[in-house]
C-alpha cells in the first residue's frame, strides 16, 4: 500500500504545474480561450515535449506505455489551472486506435500523436443517447458512415475523429470529411456537433467492451482533474474567508462559515481518495467488472462532491463568486461539466448497482 506518486510521476506533475504557473496564468488562459482555435498551439507543443501525449501510448509506437496513475498528477494540475487543451479527447482516441487498430494504422497515427503533431477526438454520443454507451444509431455501410454525433469534445481542433457505429463498430475518419457545427462549452472547451454525411472511415477492431474500457480510463482522468479543480476551489475559498471582512472581522471567524468550509475540505479529500481508486483500478483491476465498479463508485462521489464544492465555493464568495472576473466562477463551470462528463451520479448509481 502506497499513496505516493513515484518519483517520475511527481517530477512530471511538478513540471506541468510549473509550466502552467508560468504560461497559463488566469489572464494568459483568457487569451487562449478567446482565440479562434480555442486552444494554445504553443502550450500544446510544450505538453507534447513533456511527453504528455506520448505517456499512455504503447512504447512500440513512440509512447511510454503509461497508465492512468501516471497521468493522475498531471490531471490534478490541469484541474487546478482549468486547462482547455484537448489532451483527454486525444488520449481517448489514441487508446482506441492503439487497442483496435491495424499495425499500419497505429504506425500512421500514434507516433504523430505522441509527438504532438496530431490531435484526435472520440465522436460517440448522439442526440438523445445521454450517457448510454450502447445507444448508437450511426450506421456503417462498408466504410461509409451515416449519422450524427453530438458535443464531440476536441473535434474542432482534431485531425481525425474516431467514430462509433451500431454494434460497437469504430472508424477513423478525417475530420475534414465531416460537417462540424463548432461551439464553446460552458466550461470554455471547444466541441462540435458532427454530421457524418457518408464520410468514409478506416475500421478498427471495435466492440462495446473496448469502448467501455477506454471511456472508463477517461472517466478516471476526469475524476483526477475534478480533484484538482476542487482543491483550487477549496483553497481559494479558504483564502477569501481569511481576507474578506464584514462587520469589522474576517468572515472566516464566523462558525457557520467555518463548518461549511470544513465540509468542503473533507469532500475534497474524499473525492481525491476516489480518484486514486479509479486511476489505480483502470490500470490494474483483475476484471472489467471490478474496474467498472470502482470507476462508477468514484464518479458518483466525484460528481456529488464537485457539485457541493462548486456551489458552496460560489456561495461563500458572495457576489464576487458570480463574477466572470474571478477564476472561481470558471472553476464552477468546469466542475459542473466534469460532474456530468462520461455520466453523472445518477447514471453511475445505476451502473454501480447493476455490477
Amino acid at each position: 500500500m502506497n499513496f505516493d506518486y513515484s518519483e517520475e510521476q511527481q517530477l512530471l506533475a511538478d513540471s506541468v504545474r510549473r509550466l502552467l504557473q508560468k504560461d497559463y496564468e488566469f489572464e494568459a488562459r483568457k487569451k487562449i480561450v478567446a482565440s479562434k482555435e480555442g486552444y494554445g498551439a504553443e502550450v500544446w507543443s510544450k505538453f507534447a515535449e513533456m511527453g504528455l501525449t506520448a505517456l499512455p501510448l504503447p512504447s512500440e509506437h513512440g509512447g511510454f506505455g503509461g497508465g492512468a496513475v501516471d497521468l493522475m498528477g498531471v490531471m490534478e494540475a490541469f484541474g487546478e489551472a482549468l486547462v482547455v487543451e484537448p489532451l483527454v479527447p486525444t488520449i481517448l482516441g489514441a487508446l482506441l486506435v492503439a487497442k483496435g487498430g491495424s499495425a499500419d494504422l497505429k504506425q500512421s497515427i500514434l507516433p504523430a500523436v505522441a509527438e504532438g503533431r496530431m490531435k484526435l477526438a472520440f465522436a460517440h454520443a448522439e442526440p438523445g443517447s445521454r450517457y448510454e454507451l450502447k445507444a448508437v444509431k450511426t450506421k456503417a455501410s462498408g466504410a461509409k458512415l451515416e449519422g450524427a454525433k453530438s458535443a464531440v469534445l476536441g473535434a474542432p481542433s482534431a485531425d481525425k475523429l474516431i467514430v462509433s457505429a451500431q454494434g460497437g463498430g469504430l472508424f477513423v475518419v478525417d475530420a475534414s470529411k465531416v460537417k462540424q457545427q463548432a461551439f464553446t462549452t460552458i466550461d470554455e472547451m471547444r466541441a462540435a456537433d458532427v454530421v457524418l454525411n457518408g464520410a468514409e472511415g478506416v475500421p478498427l477492431q471495435g466492440g462495446l467492451e473496448l469502448i467501455e474500457e477506454v471511456v472508463d480510463f477517461a472517466t478516471a482522468l476526469a475524476c483526477a482533474e475534478a480533484a484538482g479543480a476542487m482543491k483550487f476551489a477549496c483553497d481559494t475559498t479558504l483564502e477569501y474567508l481569511k481576507t474578506r471582512k464584514q462587520f469589522g472581522v474576517p468572515i472566516g471567524t464566523f462558525q457557520a462559515l467555518q463548518h461549511r468550509i470544513v465540509d468542503l475540505y473533507i469532500a475534497q479529500e474524499q473525492a481525491r481518495s476516489m480518484a486514486c481508486l479509479a486511476c489505480s483500478k483502470v490500470d490494474a483491476a483483475e476484471s472489467p467488472a471490478e474496474r467498472a465498479r470502482a470507476v462508477s463508485a468514484a464518479k458518483i462521489k466525484v460528481a456529488d462532491n464537485a457539485r457541493l464544492i462548486s456551489q458552496e465555493a460560489v456561495q461563500l464568495h458572495g457576489g464576487m463568486g458570480m463574477s466572470e472576473e474571478l477564476k472561481v466562477s470558471h472553476t464552477f463551470r468546469r466542475l459542473t461539466v466534469l460532474g456530468q462528463l462520461y455520466g453523472d451520479a445518477d447514471h453511475h448509481l445505476e451502473r454501480f448497482a447493476s455490477l
Binding site: 500500500m1 499513496f3 496513475v69 479558504l238 475540505y265 481518495s273
Partner: protein
Amino acid sequence: MDLNYSQEELAFRDEARGWLEANLPQDLRQKVADYAHLSKEDLVRWHKILAKKGWVAPAWPKEWGGTGWNVVQRYIFEEELGYVGAPPLIPFGLTMCAAVLLQFGSEAQKKRFLPRIYNCDDFWCQGYSEPGSGSDLASLKTKALRQGDHYVVNGQKIWTTLAHYADWIFCLVRTDSGAKRQDGISFLLIDMKTPGITVRPLILMDGAHEVNEVFFDDVKVPLENLVFEEGKGWTVAKYLLGYERMNTGRIGESKRQLAKLKKFAAPMMRDLRFRDRLSRLEVELMALEITNLRFLDRMRRTGQPPGADVSMLKIKGTEIQQGLTELMMQAMDPAASDEFSVSIRKRYLSTRKTTIYAGSNEIQRNIIAKMTLGL
C-alpha cells in the same frame, strides 16, 4: 501508487482473521450479531481471551505487552475485529488511560496499573463531562483540594460510560480555581470503591443503561494518584483527544453492517430510491476507507502522529454508522415486532450518540477549522 495491501500485510490479515474466527466464542458472536446486551462478564471474557493471546494492546510498547505491529498492521487487526463481529474492547483503560500513563505516568503508576489494565483486572471509566461542561470541557468544576497526603474531591461527572461496571475512573478535576481555566486542571485516578462516590444510571432513549452520573462527595484520593504535574491535566487531556480520534472510522464494523443490511434488505433493492440511498452510503464508506488508508500511509512513512485533519474520520465514520442504522430501520417491515426488528429500531435510537460522543462532530469541525485550515 498502489492501493493494495502487500503480500505480507495480506498474510498478516489472514492470520488475524483465521485466529479470530477460531477463537471468538460463538455465543458472544451471536450476541453481537443480534445486537443483544453485552454484560460486563461478556466484555471481560473477550478481553481476557485476547490478552492471553497477547493481542489485546497492540499499540503499547513491547515491554508492557504491545505486539510491535506497525500502524497499518494495527489498523488491519482492528478492522478484522470489527468485521468478525467481536464484542468491543472498552477503550477507557486499554486505549485511553494506558496512553496517558505511558506518556505521562510515573514508573510506579505504570507498574501498578498497566498490567491490571492489560488483563482487565481493573475495569476503567472516563470522568470528563460535567452537567455544565460538555463541549466546553475546560469549564469543568469538579474540585480537588489538597489536604495533607490526599486530595478531597467534590463535584459531579455525567455521561460516564459503564461507570456501573468500573473499578477505577480517570478524572479531570480543578485543583486551582484561581488560575487561568486550563491551568487549574489536573488528571486524577480514582478508585471507584472510595467512600463518597455515588453512581446513578442515566437511561438513554433506547432504554439501555450504558451511561451514568457519578457524584463525588468528599472523596479522598491519595496524592500518588495524580498523573503528571498538578495543573497540567489539560496537556494530558489534549494528548488523549488526538489519540482518541484516529480509530473512530470503524470501517470494519461498518462493512459488516453494510453486508448484513444488503442481505436482509435484498427485497428492498427493487425500490430504486432505497437502492440509490444504499449505493451512495456504500460509496461513502469506500471513500472513507481509502481516506483512512491515506492517513495510515502518511503516518507510516513520516513516523509522525496524525494531524488534526484526522477528525474527518470521526465525522464521516459516525455519519456512515448512523446512515446504516437508518437504512436498516427503513428496510424492516414497519409492522414487525419480532426481537430482531425491535433491536434494529433500538440500534437506530442508540446510534444517534455517535455524532455526539468523543467530541461532537461540531467540535471536530471546529478542530479542523482552527488547526488544519488556520481559521
